[in-house]
Amino acid sequence: MKLYDQIFNVVKQFRKLFSPGPVTNADVSGSITAEIFLIVSLILSAILLRHVNVLLAGLVTLILAIVLISNIPLIPKFKIEQEDSLEKMIFYAVVTLSIIVVFLYWGGNLV
Amino acid sequence: MLEFVLMIIIVVSAILALIQKDLLKAAILTGFTGAAVAVLFQVLLAPDVALTQAIVGAAIVPVFIALAVKKTQRSDG
């Protein structure tokens, strides 16, 4: 139950910060599901790198797993980055644009 | 040679528009950019586009911005 308590506390603080209201079991179980789903799906998609290079895939998966699991709980940090203020949205849009352009212009033929 | 002058006008007035404290001045400088772009279209053998851009970029857009500034506030702060 350590994970549950830890996430319960985080959700409680989080609610205090953003939208006040009672913390219920459904909230916490939702957060835990999201947490586990996020970790597993990110690691699973890292395995897709094996089509590029098997060694790279193993290395990336291992590092990703260690980084993600040692940073539990992820969802609150994650949600702060995904809020709907214009600044953050434009920032991510422009960063994505520049990554796509740079990657395609110089590395598009490598794949 | 003309296009160099126009390029300098476009870029400088665009930058000046964005560092102005007075928003009305920014609107007028936007009109400068629009007009210079219109002349550039004429240099590029597109007189029909130049006409449209002269009306839209040099007159309508600055007027819209000026109206918006008049209805809100003039200083950037």
Binding site: S19, A26, S45, A93 | -
Partner: protein
Amino acid sequence: MNELIPLMVIVPLMAGLLISAFSKFNKATKIFAFVVAICLPIIPLASNYGLHFFGGYEPIVDNVTSVMFHPAITYSFTFLQQIFIAMIGILTFLVVFIYLTKYKEISGPYLFLLFLGTAAVTAMLLTDDIFHMFVFFEILALAQVGIVAASSIDYSYEMALKYMILGSIGSPIMLLGIGFLLAMTGSVNVTDIAVAVHNGLVDITSPVFLLSLGLIFFGWLYASGLPPFHTIKSGIYSKAEPHGAALLQSFTVISMISIVLIMFRIYSTLPIFEVLIVFFSILAMILGVSLALTQTDFRRMIGFLAVGELGFIGLGIGLGTQYAITAGLFQALNEIIITALLFIGFGAIVNATNEVDTRKLGGLLAYHPKVSIMLLIGGLAMAGVPPLSGFQSKLMLVQASLSCGYPEISILAIMVSIATFVVFVKTYYSMFLKPKPTELKVENMEVPRAMIFAMGVLLIIIVVLGIFPDVVTAGISNFVGGIL
């Protein structure tokens, strides 16, 4: 009968203009809007397949190289266009019907925006001209902003302005990409560009060609609300009226598939194209579902789920085989119907309680049993439970990714389906099954008849498509065989 093809765009456009001009004649406008809305699904079903050249400029054959050029804006109408336009027509009819019965005094401009959006997505599906597609893409963005801003929900203006500002970054970038393509091929007709690319007239390894892919791809991300635009897309769904949101998500899905099919025809020879689409689709699935799990506003939650489901469509197209693309397009069709059902159903709850926070809701099963049963079936269809339509398309996708040699993607797809189901059950429990909080007041005991009717129609389509998927998939598969 090919004269009917341009009518599919012209009828909603003209009807919208007339309605907004004569909206003071309330009764006559209502009848007119209703008649036009009925016509919308009938026109594509009555029309024959074929091409339409605007201005009558037939294609010119170059005698030396025997390559065909298309000087006119061309509309091509095949089975895929027919089924999607008919579906969007049915949806527009239902939404207009709900709107007309909900308000006594109708607003002409709002109906104009609904019809304008329908006309824009119809044109995007039909057109074979990349710049024509861009123009209607911009018109669609304006219509979407209008629909959001016209709703009376708090902070809808803010959300509309945010969407507009992001759009005015996304669309010039897409225009720039179209400009690069135009510079290399000298044409804006997609068939001509694709012929030029496949015949080797364009160097497909040149950085400029790749750059044009990147720029158009960014515009596509904005149009379809994949990351980094998933927050704004789910935001505008949650700030529109529920029936408006049902239409908005169908606009998103249709603009997504029409742009991606054009990109597929041009760039399918580049391996990086498929990598990019699969990458962003997986990101959309993960982000959409995991953010939906943490939401408390159920409109926002459905918005994030809709974004997550978009990932499945992208996945099907990114895998690139005939079976996979068929599965992706079939999933797009299913998603339009299912998400519309969910938005309308949850809209009925907002209508009854004026409350959107799931923590303050509960015990509504006793008040609205019909709505709750229909919503349950819709949610099961979205999660992919047999024998509903979502199951068929998701099964096809899982099979396609297994046969392409990517078992990880199938596992991921199944996991996302399960998580979708968890999100739905969590919300369903807290809205319908949990004991009713004492401070919750159920104001309107009656759910509008039009909403029940709309949900019933959509539910019938879901069940029919789930039992007889071949009605649609055979035709889509033929179409995909044609563009591969």
